[in-house]
Amino acid sequence: MKFGVVIFPGSNCDYDTLYVLKDVLKQKTLFLWHKEHDLKNVDCVILPGGFSYGDYLRSGSIAAFSPLMQEVKEFALKGGLVLGICNGFQVLLELGLLPGAMLRNKNLKFLCQFVHLRVENEATPFTNKAKKSQVLRIPIAHYDGNFFSPPDKIHEIKKNNQVVFRYSDAKGQLSEDANVNGSLESIAGLRNKEGNVMGMMPHPERASEVLLGSEDGRIIFDSIIHWLGNRGG
């Protein structure tokens, strides 16, 4: 089982993600440079957080055109596991691997804080170690995390059980206050129809050790490891 963490110019959670996978969870993990054309036989690609290409044009848009991302797209379309965290989620939206787009946060502020997430779908490669409606405490750090999708598409997203996480309070209740960035339907994480690609705005790699205030983020990585293990990856 091998993980690949993609580095774009401006990625800044690449080392944190590698550290959690390699040092905390003892997994084979390597970096993949955005200009390469080779995924080096990894079983799971992770697009880390940061500000790829300075977030010029739109968050994640330029990164979506990089050479390696064309390989990632092909890998995803063949069923390969791809996780996008924060800026990585934005890249997946721009690439069209996930539906929707990100708008600026409703209060026009960069939000850097712990939030609560309610697990909406625990039957995914990324959440199988979580319980239904479990509330996770994981931090966010973004300016453009206000999820948007046109009405016909959001209907489809819900019908296909593609919503994986929603912003909630500590008890798992949804509210306008808990939905800190104004996302449509409080959506914090989303998977594709097939289930092998997921994007989430919160940073699980920043909450994978008790020392950092929460280890709820480990559930995401442990779920991937469990899923790949069962598949014999």
Binding site: L57, R58, S61, F65, E94, G100, A101, L103, R104, N105, K106, N107, L108, N146, F148, S149, P150, G182
Partner: protein, 82 residues
């Protein structure tokens, strides 16, 4: 050939930045301001291309790269011909 492309959020999409600008204008006493929509302007310099080809690639570039068609719309005009 010089082309100007204007990208802005679709009318159906809330524009919090435009709202913030509108509120600032109202605070300054410009009571006639009813709405503000914020957008981006791109100026492209094209070379060695016919007018017909330019008319074909400008919407293509706008749709594929400059705008995100899920949330944004675009319009364009040719400013200077060669």
């Amino acid at each position: 050939m010089k082309v100007r492309i204007l990208v802005s959020l679709k009318n159906s999409v809330l524009d919090p930045q435009g709202q913030a600008v509108k509120n600032a204008l109202l605070t300054l006493g410009y009571d006639s301001v009813k709405d503000v929509r914020q957008g981006k302007v791109f100026e492209l310099e094209l070379e060695g291309i016919s007018h017909d080809d330019a008319e074909r690639i400008i919407p293509e570039i706008s749709d594929k790269v400059l705008a995100n068609p899920i949330i944004e719309k675009f319009s364009w005009q040719i400013l200077e011909k060669d």
